[in-house]
């Protein structure tokens, strides 16, 4: 409370100052952005006096349009990592100033020259205990409509995750996933296509599972964490959990680049990461963050389930994004 007050006060002071320093942070809205405001923006404003204006949701089309038009109004943007790699290649991003952002403690899986990790998460298998008899234990179970009847829900958009799940369910070993065999994945998905309900956003995935509208689903672990916290009767299997990450980037030509770099340093700091993880259930990208978190929170993080954990290959996806998307929508709309 004190901290929030201090943040508000600092914000007011900054606003009344003649040369109020400001910057714009853009993320996906909802509970995630709320947690980012509480864990990063407010303490950052308190300590630096730089006011952080919020915008959202993240829109890659808008980001590109801003950079193309050389009128960039976003300073820090939360994006999916495969997009960040592609965007850096297309010249849409500023390089990170690692003189300002300490690099040593950042998990190298989720940061690179043009991006600092925001948080990382796992796709897990979640189910409604009232709608499922027995316990599904692997992605293969989601494709077994005899043993586990009912609707299943998957992420609607072309993104790392579903293709890999289909291949794992079809018996492809985790270390042989890439390059992705799209033909085989779609053939496997065809088997259950009529039983799939797609979710387009996190809230929708929660609603589908909590109501039993879908018996099982591929969900972001943070969303399952929130369901459990709300007392929903859900089960979760971490077997073969698939990691992916959101990262923070600075669009090329951002107006407040210096403030943006300072913000990144605060967001990726052990304290910023620990606070965010505690609020969201997503995992920290700073290896020192765990030391600052309560033990029961650490237990619920993807970090606690590295056994059988599979890292989705962001570089592969960045390279083949368009090609996979074309195939994905062709299959989906059929």
């Amino acid at each position: 409370m004190k901290l929030i007050l201090a943040g508000v006060l600092a914000g007011l002071l900054a606003a009344t100052a003649a040369k109020a320093d400001e910057m714009v942070f853009t993320s996906w809205g909802g509970t995630t952005q709320e947690a980012q405001i509480k864990s990063w923006a407010e303490p950052f404003t308190a300590s630096s006096g730089i006011k952080v204006l919020q915008d959202g949701p993240t829109d890659y089309g808008k980001l590109k349009a801003m950079v193309d038009a050389k009128n960039v109004t976003w300073d820090v943007v939360d994006v999916e990592m495969d997009f960040a790699i592609k965007a850096a290649k297309d010249g849409l991003l500023e390089p990170i100033d690692f003189a300002v952002v300490p690099k040593d403690d950042l998990d190298p899986r989720f940061s690179n020259e043009h991006a600092v990790g925001s948080f990382y998460y796992s796709f897990v298998l979640a189910w409604n205990k009232g709608a499922v008899s027995g316990e599904p234990t692997s992605w293969a179970d989601m494709f077994d409509t005899k043993k586990f009847p009912g609707k299943r829900t998957f992420y609607k958009w072309s993104a790392p995750g579903v293709i890999e799940i289909a291949l794992l369910a079809d018996g492809v070993p985790a270390d042989k996933l890439y390059p992705l065999d799209l033909e085989r994945a779609f053939k496997k998905l065809d088997m259950i296509k009529s039983d799939i309900v797609w979710w387009g956003g996190g809230a929708e995935s929660q609603q589908l599972i909590a109501s039993g509208e879908a018996a099982f689903g591929q969900l972001w672990n943070g969303r399952v964490f929130a369901l459990e916290k709300d007392g929903a009767d859900v089960g979760v299997s971490w077997n073969q959990n698939l990691t992916a990450a959101d990262v923070l980037v600075v669009p090329k030509g951002a107006k407040n680049k210096d403030s943006a770099m300072k913000f990144l340093a605060a967001a990726a700091s052990p304290a910023g990461q620990a606070k965010f993880a505690e609020a969201s259930g997503y995992a920290p990208v700073n290896t020192k963050a765990k030391a600052e978190m309560p033990a029961d929170v650490v237990k619920g993080l993807p970090d606690a389930h590295v056994d059988g954990q599979i890292n989705l290959d962001m570089n592969y996806w960045a390279e083949h994004r368009d090609e996979i998307a074309t195939r994905w929508y062709a299959w989906q709309t059929k």
Binding site: G61, K64, W198, E213, Y329, Q332, T333, K334
Partner: protein, 286 residues
């Protein structure tokens, strides 16, 4: 005729008072014509000059399928909306005005509620574990939940509900213009109610049906939220596909081409309808 009036009348051959349309024309020019031209330019210049975006569009089975879906959904929605709206409009037209304005108010009231909220409400009603399926299963009418959502049925229900006022309004206008005595005359001449409907009421209300139908059809073509939430991926409509192309694939050129083709087809349909129904009658229905 005063000199002033004469001068006004002869101004560019436009009728007197045309100057009042200037603000509206400027608005449309600035915020519709200019963006449309920019869109067209983008579709033939991004990423490089040429027609490759259009070639990609028509060469892509996905886009062709989504185009077909879009027009199918819009046609089904328009047809169902006309069927549902007609009896309501007729009732409104013959009702005492005081009662009529109350019913009218109820219809308009639904338009004041947020679109997203209304669509979510339909999700709650239509889903497998939703109110309708639970009630029917509780009553023993059905044993398996009916597939009312994530398909064409769900999209149609949700969109017809939203489009109804846009159909009812022009229909009431053209129905009110019909002299009730014509129907009485038909009855006196021995026409059955069905005959009177088919040969008197329907032809006379055609301008209203055409005006409302066109509006509903065109609005349906560009719909985004409702099909995205109540439809399945096999009913994906063009607006959603364009959003994906631009937002996620960053392919502004292809997105622009798709949007432009949709606009062109819509305009063509409008032109055909003008020829069939006649601009005057269409305008009179509004």
């Amino acid at each position: 005729m005063t000199a002033n009036a004469l001068r006004r009348q002869s101004f560019a051959g436009l009728p007197a008072g045309s100057g009042g349309a200037l603000p509206a024309l400027t608005l449309v020019g600035l915020f519709f014509i200019v963006p449309v031209v920019a869109l067209l330019l983008r579709s033939v210049t991004d990423p490089e000059p040429g027609l490759q975006n259009y070639a990609a569009l028509f060469g892509s089975g996905t886009y062709v399928r989504v185009f077909f879906n879009t027009f199918l959904v819009a046609a089904v929605v328009t047809a169902v909306t006309i069927l549902v709206a007609f009896p309501v409009a007729w009732m409104l037209a013959i009702m005492p005005p005081a009662l009529g304005s109350i019913v009218f108010g109820i219809i308009i009231l639904s338009m004041w509620t947020n679109l997203l909220t209304r669509t979510y409400a339909w999700m709650v009603l239509l889903q497998r574990t939703g109110v309708i399926n639970r009630a029917l299963m509780g009553l023993g009418v059905i044993h398996e939940p009916l597939p009312l959502i994530n398909n064409l049925t769900g999209v149609t229900i949700g969109m017809v509900y939203i489009m109804l006022p846009f159909m009812i309004l022009p229909l009431v206008g053209s129905l009110r213009a019909i002299d009730p005595m014509t129907l009485r005359a038909a009855a006196l001449c021995g026409a059955s109610p069905l005959q009177a409907f088919r040969r008197i009421l329907l032809p006379l209300s055609l301008p209203g049906i055409a005006a409302g139908g066109l509006m509903v059809f065109v609005m349906s073509l560009g719909y985004f939220v409702t099909p995205a939430l109540l439809g399945g991926t096999s009913n994906m409509m063009l607006a959603e596909m364009i959003a994906q192309t631009v937002q996620s694939l960053l392919n502004w050129g292809l997105g622009s081409a798709a949007a432009f083709v949709l606009l062109a087809v819509t305009m063509a349909l409008y032109a055909i309808q003008l020829r069939l129904v006649g601009a005057k009658r269409l305008g009179g229905g509004l």
